[in-house]
């Protein structure tokens, strides 16, 4: 069950870019191409030698902002962002963010309010397209392909890159229909019996099956907050996405429901690339393997979570994680 969201190669050739990134230039500088460092297939591990590090350092010095402390991830890169900037009505909210997001890993984006972490998260499934006056520049490549390319259908992209929000947002329909909705509209499933299987497996993977198996036809609105959030996750994974974006998925939940979601995230990372925005540094430390720290619209430091929380290399990161900001 794989979507064909990219047009055929013929369509792409000759077709220019549609939007502000018509030419990959910013401030007269040629942008590094995102597809170069990204590994295309899952088992093809990107060489992470000195050369790769060196190349990234070059990138960093080339961009206008202050140097970003980067310890590159190991393993295949799912999403490679290069010099991504976001403007809302001409006001810049995100400055030249270059970040590699590895596959089958939980990457946490942390930082104070307004630091750009949610804005960056939204660039990865083109949610900013839906905001009037928002403009995204730079390049974001998923498996080497530019997701902002004109040939990409954002709706299909969002099926590949699912999103879970802060407040659980189930449809005011039955539990069953909530999960079945995605596979139905994308035409993934035809027979009813097959749909039953898809719904059951999604609910099981979201750790909700046991609790709702006997009332699939009752309204999703009758579930508790934590159950609703897991339902939303089930809905997201029912269409077999590759990436799941989570924007503070636990901030409206109690500690037990939070622990359930965190356990779920840990299980899901075996199959998906997960990016989570969280205000809780403890949660970032608990669930993620990679952490990226944002401040004032810029990426400040990224590295393995255990390094970031034990011995960050950048002063501002240390100040933030130890509670010295303000």
């Amino acid at each position: 069950m794989k979507f064909r969201i990219f047009r055929s190669a013929e369509d792409q050739t000759g077709a220019g870019r549609s939007d502000p990134i018509e030419t990959p230039r910013m401030g007269g500088q040629v942008l590094p191409h995102a597809d170069a460092p990204a590994a295309v297939s899952g088992d093809q591990v990107e060489p992470q030698g000195d050369a790769a590090v060196e190349a990234r350092r070059e990138d960093a010095t080339r961009s206008a902002g202050p140097t970003v402390v980067v310890s590159p991830p190991t393993g295949p890169i799912k999403i490679a962002a290069r010099d991504v900037s976001v403007f809302y009505d001409g006001k810049q909210a995100l400055y030249d963010v270059s970040l590699d997001i590895p596959d089958k890993t939980v990457t946490a984006l942390i930082g104070p309010s307004g630091c750009g972490k949610s804005t960056f998260l939204r660039t990865m499934n083109r949610m900013n397209d839906t905001i009037a006056g928002a403009k995204v520049t730079g390049r974001i490549a998923m498996d080497g392909e530019d997701i902002n390319d004109r040939s990409i259908d954002p709706v299909l992209l969002r099926a590949r890159v699912g999103m879970v929000f802060q407040r659980p947002n189930p449809f005011p329909k039955s539990i069953y229909e909530n999960v079945a909705y995605g596979p139905k509209i994308h035409g993934l499933v035809s027979a009813k019996s097959e749909m039953d299987g898809v719904v059951e497996s999604a609910l099981k993977r979201a750790g909700l099956w046991e609790e709702v198996a006997d009332r699939l036809q009752s309204s999703a609105m009758g579930l508790s907050g934590g159950q609703q959030q897991r339902l939303v996750i089930a809905r997201a994974i029912a269409v077999n996405p590759e990436v799941i974006l989570m924007d503070e998925p636990c901030s409206a939940l109690d500690p037990i429901a939070t622990a359930r979601i965190e356990e779920l995230i840990d299980e899901l990372r075996e199959r998906f690339c997960i990016v989570i925005v969280t205000h809780s540094m403890a949660q970032a430390a608990r669930v993620s393997q990679r952490t990226a720290f944002f401040h004032m619209g810029r990426l400040v430091e990224t590295g393995d979570t255990e390094d970031i929380f034990q011995n960050p290399r950048e002063r501002r990161t240390l100040d933030y994680i130890t509670g010295r900001f303000g």
Partner: protein, 242 residues
């Protein structure tokens, strides 16, 4: 270092550090008083050292309690976590240091009853001064967060071992020359061993200070003194590993 947004958090951390520094000062005094009590055959001072050890034990418990409370309530990370754990480790090292000083003082009480052994007690005193200096240096390095000073202490651990080895030979010579001194010499030998252990605790503290400041372990091998080659199998490995 910037202030914590939650002021009470910063205050609690500072309080733990201050208490470790105070405990360090006390342990330092215990060691040097214990040595003085040996050198001067001062029974009153030796007794005072034995009694004051209770205070070190109490401080140790207090620091540990405060650190555990801070971990439970504040969940420190990175440099704050290292500072908290460092305080706990240092408190244990200082508590052990105090125990060893107390043991020296107790032996001083026994030695005071036998004939003075001037040249030997002077050797113990010299070794004691060296160990005291190391302890003071490393505690100063801790309170001032001076990495270089801690590393310097760590690198010169072999000086203490050398002292210990030569004292060991000196004592052997005495005991072989006059078996009546064996009792007193054994006490002196244990004192030397205790001082050598205190030196090891100073080295441990240097490692803790290094970890607290940098977040990394000390790298590289410390230069090691080897026991004299002429002492054959009968000589145990004189330096304890730590």
């Amino acid at each position: 270092m910037n202030q914590h947004t939650v002021k009470a958090y910063g205050d609690e951390l500072n309080q733990i550090t201050a208490e470790v520094a105070r405990m360090g000062g006390l342990a330092e005094a215990q060691v040097s008083d214990a040595i003085d009590s040996v050198a001067r055959r001062d029974i009153a001072l030796a007794r005072a050292v034995v009694e004051r050890d209770l205070k070190l034990d109490a401080l140790h418990r207090d620091i540990e309690k405060k650190a555990i409370r801070l971990i439970a309530l504040r969940q420190p990370v990175a440099s704050d976590l290292r500072r908290t754990l460092g305080a706990m480790k240092m408190a244990s090292d200082l508590e052990r240091t105090g125990d060893l000083a107390k043991n020296i003082a107790k032996r001083a009480l026994i030695l005071a009853e036998s004939e003075p052994m001037q040249p030997l007690t002077r050797s113990i005193e010299r070794m004691g001064r060296l160990v005291s200096t190391r302890l003071r240096d490393v505690l100063d390095a801790y309170t001032a967060s001076e990495l270089d000073r801690a590393v310097a202490v760590w690198q010169t651990d072999d000086e203490v071992d050398e002292h210990y080895n030569s004292l060991f030979r000196e004592l052997l010579t005495y005991m072989m020359g006059d078996p009546r001194t064996i009792g007193a010499c054994t006490h002196l030998l244990f004192m030397a061993k205790n001082l050598e252990r205190i030196g090891d605790h100073a080295t441990n503290i240097a490692e803790t200070v290094h970890y607290e400041i940098t977040g990394d372990d000390m790298l590289g091998e410390r230069p090691r003194a080897h026991p004299g080659a002429e002492d054959e199998a009968s000589t145990p490995n004189l330096t304890t590993s730590h």
